[in-house]
């Protein structure tokens, strides 16, 4: 009996081995290493480090830079996630019709999922560019001087627009898949019972796709907290740190943290915990309202 158990154990180890190796190499090792660097001060390339104290995490968390970035990141998420979700749901509901040629619209709406952050950002950079940008021309005013990306109070909105656009394809595809799993009978039953379009949307569509919406919102919040490319390319964290999100604080150039690999690790680890707590809060808070089928 005991022999057999050991043999099973060995077989299980053999089968789990490859994924355990990949997970250790690419997730666990870097995480442990980052946590270790996080209590050190280093040079930019992490070649010379000296240990300070684990208290560095608390000091970094309390620092003005971190607090400001945390607020910027929260604002950024609060702008991009709800607007992105509403737009994604609206487009998906619009395209969830059996009309000739609707496939073309579905392709267009989902196309941004195949667009890289760099391409999307460069496109928005030119759209918003004060001298050549079409959008800047249309908007006029501060969109021309000094340009939305340099204007305090508006730069974060401009970056958000780019991010919302880039994530729209993802939300659209996920919500469309959710919509297609809703049984048609439920709509027909509600229709015969006298529910109008809005009532069918709130009583059938939204509750039935709630698991999809929870998934999409967790992914979008995480993406908002991790977004780096659009900020680096569009505003480089400016003007005056108004678009310096936590990820940009960890990786960006020309900041207080730029020349210290240790501090960057500290910020990264803190960001990891912020995201962990946020995901838990979202699951706990929203799960009660989510219905997971029969």
């Amino acid at each position: 009996m005991k022999k057999r158990r050991w043999r099973d154990f060995g077989l299980a180890g053999l089968m789990l081995g490859p994924s355990a190796a990949v997970l250790s190499l690419f997730v666990i090792y870097p995480l442990v290493k980052a946590v270790w660097y996080g209590h050190q001060r280093c040079d930019a390339s992490l070649s010379k480090c000296r240990t300070t104290s684990w208290h560095q995490y608390i000091d970094a968390f309390r620092s003005n830079e971190f607090q400001d970035s945390l607020i910027v990141t929260l604002k950024y998420a609060l702008i991009t996630v709800p607007i992105g979700l509403v737009l994604g749901i609206s487009l998906a509901v619009l395209a969830d019709k059996h009309i000739k040629g609707i496939g073309i619209f579905r392709t267009i709406f989902s196309s941004t999922v195949a667009t890289s952050v760099a391409v999307a950002s460069v496109m928005w950079f030119f759209l918003l560019n004060p001298s050549v940008g079409i959008l800047a021309d249309w908007l006029g005013g501060s969109a021309k001087t000094p340009g939305l990306l340099q204007k305090q109070g508006l730069a974060l909105w401009a970056v958000s627009a780019s991010s919302i656009w880039a994530n729209l394809g993802f939300t659209f595809i996920v919500v469309t898949a959710g919509l297609q799993s809703v049984p048609k009978d439920l709509y027909e039953s509600a229709y015969v019972d006298g529910a109008n379009g809005w009532s069918r949307f709130t009583n059938v569509t939204l509750p039935m796709i709630s698991p999809t919406l929870l998934f999409a919102s967790v992914v979008l919040v995480t993406r908002a907290f991790q977004s780096f490319g659009e900020i680096d390319l569009l505003t480089a964290g400016g003007p005056k740190g108004e678009t310096t999100t936590l990820t940009y604080l960890a990786y960006g150039q020309g900041l207080a943290t730029s020349n210290d690999g240790g501090l960057r690790a500290t910020v990264s680890v803190l960001l990891f915990f912020v995201l962990l707590i946020l995901a838990l809060v979202q699951f706990r808070g929203l799960e009660k309202r989510v219905h997971y089928g029969n």
Partner: protein
């Protein structure tokens, strides 16, 4: 508390020359059907015959390509389902899985802006009348198939519609529960005194529940009549073989009677008699307790004979003589397969 009988107005349903095409494919063609007020009308036919399409046209879920739908004295072609005073019970029950039983039953009243207290009273009355009172706070997932089916019924009766449309509501239940629910639906129809239009492919449901049956095949109405009429005088070979279990035996022209017509005989009307004009080689004998079904080949045709239990049944391999008394013979035109009445 029981629901009081109600009938807000005369709910006669009339279909005039109804045709429905989907992308050029005809689902139902030129249907004329009068359903009387408070009638229990069954639309019976095999899958794909257009019976559900017809029901959906009455409920307003499909628009007819041609023809008129009348409910009471009003042509309702351009009237929205909610203004037709029609309730529908779906095969899948179509309950909202995220709502409690109470919220499900109240839903039709809620969207009609009925006050909350009034809604609660009506929902409880509907639920009580179907024995659902104690399940009001449960979600559909916590109910059995039969209970879910009752919730769907309660949701239909709560707003007191003039016409109930039911699309195979019993087909997801097991045989025993189906039998019980059939009886309950008959009682419900008598209590509510409204018009029921009921789609099924199950001839037992059709025979036991309907005041009249409309038998459909390939988008056409084959016959309309009381269950007994349809059984006793099938209008075509299709009806003769679709209604009745086992189906009617059909003999080719010239084999039993001279003349160019088909002769049909129900299994219980065939007699095993040594001197019979037909000869059958027995291939199967099924003991059902109360009766015995004897299957065999008459020429190239498969025949079934129903024999009373406790009589001496033939054995497999026997060759027996068969006779069909004149009263048990049905005659059909060999080309049109329509009934010929002498």
């Amino acid at each position: 508390m029981t629901l009081m009988a109600y009938s807000p107005f005369v709910a006669q349903v009339r279909l005039v020359n109804i045709t429905k095409q989907f992308d050029g494919v005809t689902a139902v063609e030129d249907i004329n059907l009068d359903i009387a007020d408070r009638e229990f009308m069954i639309l019976l036919g095999p899958s794909g015959c257009g019976k559900s399409t017809l029901l959906r046209i009455i409920a307003g879920l499909e628009d007819p390509t041609e023809g008129e739908v009348w409910i009471g004295d009003k042509m309702v072609n351009d009237v929205l389902p909610k203004q037709r005073d029609v309730a529908m019970v779906f095969q899948s029950y179509a309950l909202y899985p995220h709502k409690t039983v109470q919220a499900n039953i109240e839903f039709p009243l809620k969207v009609r802006k009925v006050a909350k207290t009034e809604r609660g009273v009506a929902a409880l009355a509907a639920a009580d009348s179907l024995g659902l009172g104690e399940y009001m706070q449960r979600k559909p997932a916590a109910l059995s198939g039969g209970q879910r089916q009752r919730v769907a019924l309660a949701r239909a009766i709560v707003r007191k519609p003039a016409v109930f449309c039911m699309d195979e509501p019993l087909s997801n239940l097991d045989a025993k529960l189906r039998g019980e629910t059939r009886a309950e639906l008959i009682a419900l129809h008598q209590r509510l005194e409204s018009t029921f239009i009921y789609v099924t492919h199950d001839q037992v449901e059709a025979m036991t529940m309907g005041t009249r049956i409309a038998v459909m095949s390939r988008g056409h109405l084959e016959q309309i009549g009381s269950p007994q009429e349809v059984y006793d005088k099938p209008a075509s070979v299709f009806v003769a073989q679709f209604v009745g279990m086992p189906p009617m035996n059909i003999l080719p022209a010239g084999s039993l009677e001279s003349g160019n017509h088909l002769v049909g005989v129900r299994p219980e009307q065939l007699e095993i008699a040594a001197s019979g004009p037909l000869s059958m080689k027995v291939t199967l004998v099924e003991q059902l307790g109360h009766e015995v079904l004897v299957t065999g080949d008459v020429g190239a045709k498969r025949f079934v004979v129903r024999v009373a239990a406790h009589t001496i049944a033939p054995r497999i391999g026997d060759v027996v003589g068969l006779d069909a008394p004149e009263a048990g013979r049905h005659r059909f035109d060999a080309t049109t397969e329509q009934r010929i009445d002498a």
